[in-house]
């Protein structure tokens, strides 16, 4: 027995020594400035903890909005590996958002868009609680927008600033009872801009008329409510029925409207003429009407093995020959679309797009 102890003891020491020595040696190589990193963060005046912003009152994990923090919903959410989202907008007291009919709203300096990503422990029984994974902030300052990422601790008491992203294992029960387990990916700050980009500049995605123009449970229109609360001026005679709105693709309805809404929110942040995927010539924003740009009969440009041996983006009536569907169904990082933010296939989304292509003439 004693021999065992000695060996394990020795091994433990060796392990510790190597574990300690290894990264330090690497650090010295890679970053002569490794100590500068935290300094720079401090200089930029970034808050290290989410709680410092005081966006929420009471225990942080309850996400109970403080004054000047306004919850909001969107018509067609982005699929993020089945994570649920709790969304808020913070506006400095007395300030307003500025309405745009067909672009993201404008915000006053100091505004923050807050998006919390969480999983129900059991999606069929929300009362069993949830685990909040991360909170993403978009902050508007004099220079424009910037993103910050806060990762929640295991006690769910606070979330801590994370610049370089990472991964954390998550498991939960889906509403259909299936157990899911993934290494949930937390994006780094550059990856945020991978999607939040318009003409190369940082921009919010979800706070547009087409996403926010919806009726809340209870029947009140969200934009009219914002106006009533004094945080948005709508144009004279604003009519929610006439104004742009995406279909809620989760509800039964017109397949074309649902599919176009799905593609708009899940693809068009990059796939639009001013977005990062403008290189591809494939534009999936709901405003696009040129069939070629939607991918119909369009050969790929730089898809590589993402083409899946298929010839065109969309072949009407033939989902199994359409590259669009291939890339939604595959989980390989070099093939899947969207490129980031998805590891699992979105079964409902794939079913919807499959139907849409099948019905297409």
């Amino acid at each position: 027995m004693t021999a065992h102890y000695k060996i394990f003891g020795l091994l433990g020491i060796v392990c510790l020594l190597m574990g300690a020595a290894h990264p330090v040696q690497q650090e010295n190589n890679v970053l002569n400035s490794v100590t500068e990193v935290p300094t720079r963060q401090m200089e930029a005046g970034l808050k290290q903890n989410l709680s410092e912003y005081a966006f929420f009152i009471g225990p942080l994990a309850n996400l109970l909005a403080a004054s000047n923090v306004f919850p909001y919903e969107v018509n067609a959410p982005l699929f993020s590996d089945y994570a649920e989202k709790a969304r808020f907008i913070y506006l400095p007291a007395g300030t307003k958002m500025q309405y745009h009919a067909d672009a993201s709203f404008d915000y006053p300096e100091g505004a923050v868009i807050i998006k919390n990503f969480f999983y129900w422990n059991n999606a069929a029984q929300p009362e069993l609680g949830r685990r909040i994974i991360e909170t993403r902030l978009l902050l508007k300052d004099a220079k424009g927008w910037k993103a910050l990422e806060y990762v929640w601790n295991t006690d769910q008491t606070d979330a801590i600033l994370e610049v370089a992203g990472g991964a954390t294992p998550v498991s939960w029960h889906m509403a259909n009872g299936k157990q899911q387990r993934i290494d949930y990916t937390i994006p780094n700050l550059n990856q945020c801009k991978g999607c939040h980009s318009y003409d190369g500049k940082f921009t919010p995605i979800g706070t547009t008329t087409k996403q926010l123009n919806l009726d809340l449970p209870g029947g009140e229109n969200q934009l009219l409510l914002f106006q009533k609360r004094g945080i948005l001026d709508l144009p004279e005679g604003f009519d929610p029925v006439q104004a742009a709105h995406l279909a809620d693709y989760r509800k039964p309805g017109n397949t074309d409207a649902a599919a176009r809404a799905y593609l708009d929110s899940n693809c068009a942040h990059c796939h639009n003429p001013n977005g990062p995927a403008s290189t591809s010539g494939m534009f999936l924003n709901v405003e696009e009407n040129n069939p070629e740009h939607l991918g119909i009969g369009k050969p790929p440009v730089a898809a590589g093995r993402g083409s899946g041996k298929r010839k065109f983006g969309i072949v009407p009536g033939k989902p199994a020959e359409s590259i669009l569907l291939f890339r939604m169904e595959d989980n390989d990082p070099g093939i899947r679309m969207p490129e980031i933010g998805r590891q699992l296939m979105h079964e409902e989304g794939v079913a919807l797009i499959k139907n849409w292509i099948r019905e297409m003439k």
């Binding site: 060996i7 060796v14 990472g166 780094n188 093995r305």
Partner: protein, 394 residues
């Protein structure tokens, strides 16, 4: 007991190694995110395993520098996140140099919307036998301006080793591209000079293409000179559906649907199917729906190149190759023009007007044929070997 100890020691070594690699990856990425304009970011010597794309966005005057191509090796063979190895976006004056990058799931280095960009002394490769599951591009600047790619090596890309897309003012020099589907490809790009490179053992050596449906509609003003373009007979391993999947093995240089291209003083040898092809987009047999797109080549000047002697055997493994074999057997002329002309560009004698000419002159062993093909297919035409109408200078 001894073995147990050794085993545990190995496990412990491995755990330490993986933890150290993860820590290193995070440090490099953090450094890229927090970089300030003017920073030099040194990548350490050694093999660095990465799981996610390294990204740099919206910075100016940044140098990312390895310790040398044989010393700093970034490997993405266990990549789980992101498609690219390195991705650089919305930046100005960026230099990448002195490292090797390998085995990403998608493209190795993609740079988009960068103004002022240098790739220098970089090896970008997929290891192992070239295969369709390799990423599309090794070095991939797109929508960039003022790009210099020098002394780089690109190996194993399932589309193009060095691919410059929708960019302007580009120099590619002293690079080596081998075992890619396309060695070097200039696509919808203006003002590109490609000289003193070596493209060998690819499916196609150097391609200059304009494709439809893109934002930058028109490339052109491309010079390809003093290059060695040899033995590009590698089987086409591009995933189907991609346009380069149609390039026949054995292609030296191919010009497709673009304008103002000068190919000169190159040594082009032992490319078994076609040494230099001047083609319209119709040969792809893809439908053209883009109304602003020009599918015809124009203002092309092929001169003073040295072609190899002797007979060659076109591939049967591509429709184009098969047609060449069908028409010419083993005597495929070195320079082939599909002859499909824009009816608005020809004069009353059926010749291209001065502004749209195709000129072929003073090429050593430079046999020529006009396939006089038809929009409907290469099979239809009656070949003409008369170089007369094309003996001109631009």
């Amino acid at each position: 007991m001894k073995y147990l100890f050794t085993l545990l020691l190995l496990i412990c070594l491995e755990i330490n190694f993986l933890a150290a690699q993860a820590a290193l990856e995070k440090q490099i990425q953090t450094r890229l995110i927090l970089a300030e304009d003017g920073d030099v970011i040194d990548l350490p010597a050694g093999t660095i395993e990465l799981s996610n794309t390294l990204s740099l966005d919206a910075k100016r005057d940044i140098v990312i520098r390895g310790a040398g191509q044989d010393k700093t090796i970034l490997t993405f063979k266990n990549q789980t996140q992101g498609a690219e190895g390195i991705k650089i976006t919305n930046a100005q004056n960026i230099v990448l140099e002195h490292f090797t990058i390998e085995d990403s799931k998608g493209d190795l280095i993609k740079t988009q919307s960068v103004k002022g960009l240098v790739f220098r002394d970089i090896t970008a490769r997929w290891t192992g036998k070239p295969k369709a599951s390799n990423g599309a591009y090794a070095l991939y600047p797109v929508q960039c301006q003022t790009v210099r790619i020098e002394r780089c090596t690109a190996i194993g890309a399932s589309d193009a080793g060095i691919y410059v897309g929708q960019s302007d003012s580009v120099w590619v020099t002293e690079c080596v591209a081998k075992n890619n589907v396309a060695g070097i490809e200039i696509e919808n790009t203006t003002n590109a000079w490609v000289w003193k490179n070596q493209a060998f053992d690819n499916t196609g050596g150097i391609l200059v293409f304009d494709l439809p449906d893109l934002l930058k509609k028109r490339g052109g003003h491309v010079k390809v000179y003093d290059n060695l373009i040899g033995r590009n007979n590698y089987k086409n391993f591009a995933p189907k559906g991609n346009i380069v999947g149609q390039v026949p093995p054995g292609t030296g240089v191919m010009i497709l649907a673009t304008n103002d291209v000068e190919i000169y003083q190159n040594k082009i040898w032992e490319n078994k199917t076609v040494s230099t092809a001047i083609m319209s987009y119709f040969i792809t047999e893809n439908p053209i729906k883009d109304k602003e797109y020009n599918p015809y080549p124009s203002n092309i000047y092929i001169h003073d190149n040295i072609y190899s002697e002797g007979k060659r055997m076109p591939t049967w493994k591509s429709k184009m190759g098969f047609i060449f074999w069908w028409k010419f057997g083993k005597n495929v002329p070195h320079i082939l023009y599909d002859g499909i002309q824009n009816p608005d560009w020809v004069d009353s004698n059926g010749q291209l007007k001065a502004a749209y000419r195709i000129c072929v002159r003073q090429n050593e062993n430079g046999t020529f044929a006009n396939l006089r093909a038809d929009k409907l297919g290469l099979f239809k035409g009656k070949i003409s070997k008369n170089i007369g109408p094309y003996d001109c200078a631009l």
